[in-house]
Subunit: 257 residues, 2 copies
């Protein structure tokens, strides 16, 4: 299986490295930014281009890993009508059918993980969500995915979109809350390190328990006095105040259910 | 040092067990609910009462670990005017001075951790925030705290309140987000387990990086199309929709700074 990577960002980098590590050959990297294409190609010991008209036709699997907003444009410029070629995208949100005009065989490999180019990740523990336009391609993608990850799932477009949405809550939004906490501490010369054991324990708890069942804090205790004091403390930042209010209300509403 | 525990909840339980483990003697447990007082007293191999007028006067350290709203009432019923007796509360939010009429010597031991009675915790890794009404008592509390935890800090009431507030963001609110994510997945028959590697990685990242610097997701990419699609998917729950909107806006505002 010869792989062509279309994209040079976080997902392209980690998928490329993982496929290379288990023996697949990456034969070309495309990025619209030449320097990025070159950089990733160097890591993967392969060729690169910055123009889709120079895309090699010798690939077996073409992986589109560009940002969601660009996938439609990129896929319009790709035409893989050789019946042994397979085209996939890696988006959590876009339908599989967005590729239907670009290839006879198409699918999705969606890594359910927050990936940053420069932070190493153990791909074996990254859930890979697979979808394909027919059973044969499904089998091919499942088999390839299982070579790089221990957690491979068959997930259709509708379910994948919900997974992505729930990941925004569980990862992107929690990270925002961490940065708000850090900002609050900074204003009083307190180190963020103080909170780290608490953050660890909070996630440790939900590995074994349902989150709703281990909720703690003033809102679940319905401690209106503390909530009022906290809102006063947050007066200096209306946005933090608004976030505190709506999340506390949501916890109290869950309580009522 | 003979310790008297006033309270039988999450904090009283874990502090009591930790102090007992390093050789302090817990001589009495009070709870307004007799059965709870009895239960914790049994764990700590000691006596119990459910009426503050039966509180022993033989204690050296009295630890109030009842919920914030009850501390004021409880402290009014306690009078420790022996100059060798020390009274502390364990609240993140209440001022040290709330104890000034109840004892000559008073202070605070605030464990910065989410504690649940039935979930074991390694107290050595729990940050303990100490405050006292004078240097002598500060020294006593620091020394006792260091016997049960490796992370002991001297933190005044103002800073402690900020710590508690930031902990609400970093722990209570993130737990709410986990429960929303689980709820979304459940509606499409998807297991919460799928998100666990992502949740792990999200917290692993901020152990070594500033949260604001590792923010990922549609909001930080300013991917308005995806944000719009997500808001549509959340139509069935106005509260989730509102939370998605305000947290995405906050991420985009941070971006501008």
């Amino acid at each position: 299986m010869n792989i062509v990577l279309i994209g040079s960002g976080n997902v392209a980098t980690h998928l490329g490295l993982a496929f290379k590590d288990v023996g697949f050959k990456i034969i070309q990297v495309y990025s619209r930014t030449l320097v990025n294409a070159k950089l990733l190609a160097k890591k993967l010991d392969t060729f690169f281009c910055a123009d889709l008209s120079f895309l090699t036709s010798n690939g077996d699997l073409y992986v589109i890993a560009v940002k969601d907003a660009a996938i439609s444009d990129v896929s319009k410029k790709i035409r893989l009508y050789n019946k042994n070629q397979l085209l996939v995208h890696t988006s959590g949100t876009l339908d599989i059918t967005i590729l239907s005009k670009s290839a006879l065989n198409f699918g999705v490999i969606y890594p359910l993980q927050t990936l940053s180019k420069n932070i190493p990740v153990n791909m074996r523990k990254v859930p890979l969500c697979i979808e394909a336009n027919n059973k044969k391609n499904e089998k091919i993608l499942l088999s390839m995915a299982k070579k790089i990850s221990n957690q491979v799932y068959l997930i259709d477009s509708e379910k994948r979109k919900i997974l992505h949405l729930s990941a925004v809550f569980a990862s992107n939004f929690t990270n925002l809350l961490y940065s708000i906490a850090e900002d609050l501490l900074k204003q009083y010369d307190l180190p963020f390190d103080l909170l780290k054991p608490l953050i660890r324990e909070t996630t440790d708890k939900i590995m074994l328990n349902k989150p709703a069942e281990v909720q703690t804090g003033p809102a679940i205790r319905n401690d209106l006095l503390i909530i009022k004091k906290h809102l006063q403390k947050l007066k200096f930042n209306k946005e933090y105040q608004k976030i505190y209010k709506i999340l506390s209300e949501a916890i109290r509403n869950n309580l009522k259910q």
